[in-house]
Structure formats: C-alpha cells, structure tokens
Amino acid sequence: MAELKMLPFDAGNIPGPKMGRVTAPKIIGKMIKRAKKPLLICGSNIEEHGSIDKAIEIGKKGIPIAASGNAIVAFRNKGYMDNVKYVLLNDLANCLRDPEWKGLDGKGNYDTVIFIGSLYYLTSGILASLKNFVPHIKALAIDPYYQPNADMTFGDIWRKKDEYLAMLDEVIGEL
C-alpha cells in the first residue's frame, strides 16, 4: 500500500487542532459497511482518476449516490442511474446538519457520508461544516487527497493513480 501522507492538497489548508485521520482503505470500507445509513457523495471531478467506475461499484453494493455539480451527467453517460440523485452540495450539506431531515429517500438523515470525485477546496469547506456542526454524521473522504476536515481520509496519493484505484478496490472489497 502506498505511503499515506497528511499533506493537504491546498498547502495552506490547516484548519486547526482536529485534523482528519489518515486511515487505511480496509478500515474505511469496514466503517461504511457498519454504517446504518451511508451516502456516497460524488463531486464534479468524478471522472478523474477513474473514480466513477469505482463509485458505480459502490453504488451497486446498495449505497445510494448523491451526484453534485455536473457529476450526474457522468453517471448518465455511464448508463448507471439506479440509486443516483442530483444534489447541490451546499444545499445537501445544509440539510445534513438537521437531524430531522428526511434524506434523499424520504426515510431519514444519514449517519455516514463518503466523498469521492470532489472539487477539493469546496468539499474541504463542506467537511469543515460537518466536522464542527454536525456531530451525528461521520464524514469519510476517499479521494486521492488528504482532507483535513474529514473524520477519516485517504492520504496524499494523487500522483499514483494505480495505487489509488487499488485502495478503492480495498474499500469496495469490504462492502
């Protein structure tokens, strides 16, 4: 497995004393598996690094997908829309902070959200909001970047695409 570094993709993105824990893919996979109601949030960079195919694999394991930005178009182009819904990320995060929110399926809020294909700096801000104001949700980041505001995150591995995809496979292997 690649070395996992706590190096934010935006070099100055050091938010404070609580920084995301760099976590092995298997453990993140187990966290997702254990979640009562997980949601995979796919951002506008979902087509980078081949992430979309892995996101679809995760979706096929029964984890609902929220596609932000123009990610919905990528899923449609892939012919996978089974459990994919369009969301405006800012709007979704606003709803997530309300424990009484009914969720995208009308059945209640989520307990674990997983970010992939993110626009890094935007998602970092959204994660900061979840970290500080939404204690009822665990936030995981499985992009090839260290996300300091996530509870658990991959490390800095954006230059090693194959290793990154292998890490995603490890996550999927646990689901």
Binding site: N70, L89, N90, Y121, L122, K131
Partner: protein
C-alpha cells in the same frame, strides 16, 4: 450685514492670512419635501434588524469554517472545534459571523473610503463640490435611488454626498466596534450587522459612482461605443502605461496629458480592473488590458513601460514583480505606498530621472494632477531602454526551464485551482506546449507556484511563453460603461419584469477567481442574454466576458443590444457602478409600482424579494468587497449564486424547500398567511460548476408574485436549462406550479402527465386542468409581503 458663505477669503492688510469657511452650520436650508419620509431614514444598527430576522429565519446562515481557532486576542489561541467557545465566550458559529462582518467591514470601507477620497480629489481637481450638479438629464429623475431609500436625501450637487458619506462612516465605526472582544455573541446578530454593512456598502458605491459621473462627465445611457479588451490589444510599438486599481482620478490625468500633448500615436494606456473601466468612461483611449486574473501576467509579460496603481486588488508584491521586467511603479493613493518616498513637491523631471535610471523602483504621488506628466515621460523615456531586452522567455530559455521541471507537484498543491503544471512542463519539454498554454486561462495569476518550485522555475513566465500566440490574439470588445439605468427604461421593462415576461435581471459581477477559466463567464452571460434575460455586468466578470467571440467573430457586446431591456447585455461599469443594479430594482418599485422609497428600506426590499426576479452571479468572487456587495444585494432581497471558491467566505444563506412552514407570506390585502413555495429558494448559495450554476440562477429568478404567464416562462427556462446542462428535469420543478396556467403551453400535456405520474396530482384531461395537487397560493391580485405591518386590512 455680511452674508457668510463657504470659501477661502483674504483678510485685508494681513499678509499671508487666509480664512477658510468650509460649511455654514445652523443655516442649512431645510430639504425640499420631495416625498413623505419613510420609517427608517439613515437606519442605525437596530433599525432594520426586524427585516434581517425575517430573512435570516427563512435563510439561516450555513457556516463552513476556514479555521477552527480564534487568534484575535491574547487569551487565545482558542480551539473552537466542534462549536466550542473560546476564552471570551464566543462560539465557533458566532466567530464565523464575526469574520464575515470583518470581511464586509473591509469591503464596505474600501468602497466608501474610495468615494470619500474621490470627493477630496474632485474638489482639488474640479473645484467646489456644490457647483457640480447631480443632473443626469431628462431620462433620469430618480438620480440616486439607494441614497433616497437609505438616507432620505435627494442629492442635488456632489456636495450633498458629504452627508451621505458621514452617515456611512459613523455606521462603519459602530459596526467595527461590534467586532471587538466582548461585544456581539450571536451569529445571527453578526449577520444582521453584516447586512447593515452590506447596505452601507451599496450606498457608498452609489455615492462614489454618482460623484465621478457628475464630476468627470462620464457618459450615461445605452448605445455606448465599443472598447478594446484583452492583453493583445496593448500596442507595444508605443510606450505603454498600465493603470491598476479602482480610483480613476490619477488615470484621468494621464489621459488628459496624452491628449493635451497629442501623444496618442506615441503612448498607449491600458488598465486592469476597475480603474480601467472607470478611466475608459472618461476617455476611450483607455484599453481594458485585463481583469484581475491577468494582472500578474500583464506585468510579467513585460508589455508595459510604466505602472500606475491607485487602490484595491493590486498585488502586494507589485514592486518586486515589476522590477523583474524593469518597469517603474507610481503609487497614486495613500492606501498603498510600499515604503516609498512621497514626491509630490519635487520637480517632475527629477522624479522621471530617478525612475528611468532605476535609482528608485517607484514613487508615491498623491496629487492626481501630478501623475500624468510623470507617468507619460517615464514610459516614453524608459521604453527604448526596456525594449532592448525581450521579456518573454526565448525558445532556448523556455526549453531549459521546462526541462528542469521534475514534476514534483509542489506547484500543484500551491495552486488554488490545483493545476497540474508539471504535466504541462513535461509535455512542453517533449515539444508540445499546448497543455501548458491551455493552463494559462485556468490559472488565476497568483504566482504561489513560483515560490515553492525547488528548481526556481519562473512558472508564470513559462506559462506566458507557452500561451504567447494566444495572448497576442487576445483582442475582444466590450461596450463603454453606461452607468445608471434610465427611468424610461424602467418604465418599459417594469411591467414585464414584475409580470415575469422578461424572466429576470442577471447580474454577473465581481472578481476573476474562477474555478475553470474565463470562458465560463461568457457562457453564463450568453445563455441568459440569448434567453431574453437582462444581463447587467460589472467589474472583472464584465471584462472577461468581452474576451470571447462567436463564429462570426463578434463578442456578446456586438451581438446583443446595449439596452436595459429583454436580451440586453450591458456594461454597467466598475465595482462601484453595480449600485445601479440595486438601483434598477428599487426603481421598479418606485417608478413602476409607485412605492415611496424615501427612508423606506424594508418595504422596498420586501417588494423586491417578492416581485423582482433579479439574481447576482459572482462566479469568481475573491475580495472582501465581494462579500459586502453580496450582503448588500441580499438585504435588498436579491439572491446571488457564487462560484465554488466562495465556500471560503465561510457563509451562505440557504432556504429549505422541504420545510413548508418557511415559505408562508402574508397577502397584504387581508393578512391571510399563504404558502408561496420556495421562491427564491436561497439567498446566497455556492454552485460547484457552471452546469449547476446556470439552471440554479434561473430558478432563483422565480418570485411569489409571478403571474401565470411569467411563471410559465421562468419555469420553461429552469426546466430547459436543467435538461441542457444536467441532462434531465429538475426534481423540484413541481414545487413552482400553482395551476395549469403556470405550465408552458408547448409542453403542457407532457408536464401534466409527469405531475400525474410522479407527484400523484389529479388531472382533468378533458379540460387539461389540475384538479388536485398544487399547494402554492396564487391570486391575480395577490400582494405578497413578509412584513406584518404592511397588511392593509387585518383579517378578522
């Protein structure tokens, strides 16, 4: 009896004694009663708090902290993670509101101080302010809508604006006080104060622009001439002067000097940012070299022989950057002096000599009347010296630099947009510069990459070299700024706007910190202009919009009418000019709906929120001014969509369409509480991509008072734009349907089928009417309001 009046007087027999009377106190003529005074002239912090609380209840702040600590006092550093409280008791949530207020303070101060500074300059350059009338001709009777609305003042001369600035300045101080440790502790009250600051900001912008229009005779109204825009328009056969900033008087003096000395064939003047926009209103010899995003590249390309800066959004390292290409810098504003000597009293030729010889890298000249001669002479004299050296990398030097790149990635993680510069270098080293050239436009020109490069590659320069053929061809057009919207235009569009047949006013405004380059702003403006929205541009987004051409080689300013009417794409002006977009909305209330605006802020904001389908788009918002501008628009009832970098402002204002109870208003006719649906759904919202931004902006133009014809047009655009950019119907379109009359005729059957199948609504297919389903209230004489006091007859 001697009648005193302001002025400077000599005293007979007393040599060297002069008496200056600035203002006669206690003798001021009472202001003409031009309209009844409303409830809140010159509102102080608490006066409009009730309106803010209405907005904040529906659109509570969403906070995304950029920093989980507070370091503002010596009890810290305090760890506020998880919304803990610091040593002073402030929570992380309140701290976010505090930082937002601080940003708005800086932004509002920038506009207001610029306006006040300009009054001083105008007095110095043009004479007594009370001799300069504010008279914009027969097409404009409501000359200063924000000033009338907020202060209750109807200004007649530029001197009347002094009272406006005094009001702003006192309030800025009061609001600044709230930032101190041990003051405000509520996030919502910080936001109310940020709204107050935003409102003051809008007022300061209007006063500043009115002052410069009146004093410098800036042209106003439609059909303005076309101006050159783009880095490729600078004529390097001439000596080139570059003006950067937001305070035009020094640049006007340069224009005067060039024209008075018939030097147009020898000296070229270009501008960056709002000084470019404002000085081009004074003289069309000014070219718009670039927006903020190209500032560093214009300098580092070595295109200019003398740089003149005034204030705001100018690089803090401009001396160092300019020295890399041998360009002297003149600092023409006391906000920015960079430890250089003030040389106003010196012989201009001595100053020129010092700058041309390189004895000093720059000078400060605070008197705008001193700038023109020095800048022109410096540019002319240094040109032959500077031009001996080429500032664009040679082919050999370029090859050497890109081959030195190890693709370590340091530049990428330093880059705000995460550009893979190393990949661009790698390809260039193999002989293909196309990737590096394409990165030029996505780059925002910050220069952070160069500082972290272990090989010391001048990355800004390698990118310029790769993109040089594109830069030379960067030659677009925009209209000269037109300033205020005519009252007559408002009379024409007032009904279509309120009825919805003109689907909205779109205001792409603000800075150039785009996520994916400048083309996006062209796409946004074109999409809405083509669809018949009125597109009002200001600032850097305006400049960048002019860079792109259609297949016929025409820019949007050539293909769309220069009028405030359906499909118009107009240059309203600089940052301060975007007050005229607020003004247009206020004028709709005043001129079209006959609402009294004098000292009547909340009622007019309520009118705009419920009726005027306007939406700002700040796709590259960067500055604190953009923060205060957005707060000013929001308090006035105008929503805004911002680009993804704007998450770093820490705060958005988001509605919850799933919470029905948030979307009730009063019918002012009888006080009935009625559900109007989520219109507009958000007040300040971050979009991730333009594919998301464009349909969202269309959605935010819907209003409670839309007529069925207007709603059907707005709904058509919302659905159509979703299908175009996101590939499907939006999942919430049914929330905006009040009856079958809201459905566009061409799609009515299809939409009714969807409502029946997906929402379970009952349809009478014979008459094609909705029998059961919609919850949203509408009545042709519906008079929606969020303010209880505006109910005319209380319901029993």
């Amino acid at each position: 009896m001697v009648k005193l009046k302001p002025g400077i007087f000599d005293i007979e027999d007393l040599e060297n004694v002069k008496i200056e009377i600035k203002e006669i106190m206690g003798e001021k003529m009472p202001e003409e009663e031009w309209a009844p005074m409303g409830p809140t002239p010159k509102p102080k912090i608490p006066d409009l708090r009730y309106w803010d609380r209405i907005l904040l209840k529906r659109y509570p702040p969403f906070y995304a902290p950029q920093c989980d600590t507070c370091i503002l006092c010596t009890m810290g550093k305090c760890d506020l993670t998880g919304n803990k409280r610091g040593a002073c008791g402030i929570s992380l949530e309140a701290m976010q509101g505090r930082i937002v207020l601080l940003a708005c303070l800086a932004g509002c101060s920038a506009h207001a101080a610029h306006g006040r500074h300009m009054l001083h300059d105008i007095e110095h350059m043009k004479g007594e302010l009370d001799k300069i009338p504010i008279d914009f001709g027969t097409e404009i009777n409501v000359e200063a809508p924000l000033t009338r609305l907020i202060t209750g003042i109807k200004p007649k001369t530029v001197a009347d604006l002094k009272e406006v600035f005094s009001y702003i300045e006192e309030n800025i101080v009061q609001l600044g006080d709230a930032l101190h440790t041990g003051q405000e502790g509520s996030a919502l009250d910080f936001e109310s104060k940020a709204y107050q600051m935003g409102m003051l900001d809008s007022l300061g912008k209007e006063a500043a622009d009115i002052a410069q229009i009146a004093a410098f005779n800036f042209p106003i109204g439609p059909d303005r001439p076309l101006l050159d825009v783009g880095m490729g328009t600078l004529d390097t056969n001439k000596a080139v002067i570059l003006v950067i900033g937001h305070n035009a008087p020094p640049a006007t003096n340069i224009c005067d000097y060039i024209q008075d000395h018939n030097l147009e064939d020898e000296v070229d003047i270009g501008g960056v940012c709002c000084t470019a926009l404002d000085s081009s209103r004074y003289s069309t010899i000014v070219k718009l070299a670039s927006s903020l995003g190209r500032q560093l590249r214009v300098i580092r390309a070595g295109l200019v022989d003398c740089i003149v800066v005034d204030e705001q959004c100018i690089r803090a390292d401009i001396i160092e950057q300019a020295q890399k290409v041998g360009t002297p810098v003149i600092f023409a504003n006391d906000k920015k002096m960079h430890n250089l000597e003030i040389r106003d009293g010196d012989d201009p030729d001595e100053i020129v000599k010092d700058l041309v010889s390189g004895n000093v890298p720059g000078v400060v000249l605070l008197d705008p009347l001193n700038v023109g001669e020095v800048a022109v002479k410096v540019a002319q004299q240094i040109k032959p010296i500077r031009r001996k050296k080429g500032w664009i990398l040679s082919d050999e030097e370029f090859k050497k630099q890109v081959e030195a790149c190890t693709n370590c990635g340091n530049c990428t993680i330093a880059c705000p947009n995460g550009i893979r510069i190393g990949d661009g270098h790698k390809l260039a080293a193999e002989g293909d510069s196309s990737l590096l050239a394409s990165q030029f436009d996505i780059c925002i020109g910050c220069g952070r990459c160069e500082q972290v490069c272990p090989q010391n590659i001048p990355i800004v320069s390698t990118m310029i070299k790769a993109a040089w053929p594109l830069i030379q061809e960067e030659k677009g057009k925009i209209r000269q700024a037109r300033g205020p919207i005519f009252d007559t235009e408002i009379r024409t569009v007032g009904a279509p706007l309120v009825l919805g047949t003109i689907p909205g006013i779109i205001a792409p405004i603000g800075c150039g910190n785009y996520p994916n380059g400048t083309k996006d702003v062209y796409t946004i403006a074109k999409e809405f202009g083509d669809r018949g929205y009125i597109v009002c541009l200001t600032g850097c987004m305006l400049i960048d919009t002019g860079l792109y051409k259609d297949e016929d080689g025409k820019t949007l300013f050539e293909t769309h009418p220069d009028v405030f009417d359906k499909g118009g794409i107009i240059n309203v002006g600089s940052c301060v000019s975007n007050a005229h977009i607020h003004d247009a909305a206020i004028k709709v209330a005043n001129i079209f709906a006959q609402r009294n605006i004098r000292g009547n802020y909340a009622e007019i904001a309520d009118y705009i929120l419920n009726r005027v389908g306007a939406c700002g788009v700040a796709w590259g918002a960067m500055s604190q001014k953009a923060a205060s501008i957005a707060a000013g628009f929001n308090r006035l009832g105008v929503p805004a969509v911002v680009g993804p970098h704007s998450i770093k402002y820490r705060r958005s204002f988001l509605g919850r369409k799933d919470k029905e109870e948030d979307w009730y208003v009063y019918d002012a006719r009888n006080g009935e509480r009625v559900y109007v649906g989520p219109v507009p759904e958000h007040l300040l919202v971050v979009a991730e991509t333009i594919e998301e931004c464009i349909p969202l902006t269309a959605k935010l133009c819907m209003r409670a008072a839309d007529t069925p014809a207007g709603r059907s047009i707005k709904l058509t655009h919302y659905i159509d734009l979703n299908q175009k950019y996101l590939g499907d119907y939006p999942d919430d379109w049914h929330l905006f349907v009040r009856s079958e009359a809201d459905l566009p005729i061409a799609k009515r059957t299809e939409l009714l089928q969807k409502l029946e199948a997906e929402q379970g609504w009952k349809i009478d297919w014979k008459s094609k009417k909705i029998v059961e389903g919609p919850k949203v209230y509408y009545n042709p004489s519906f008079d929606p309001t969020n303010i209880k006091d505006l109910i005319r007859t209380k319901k029993e």
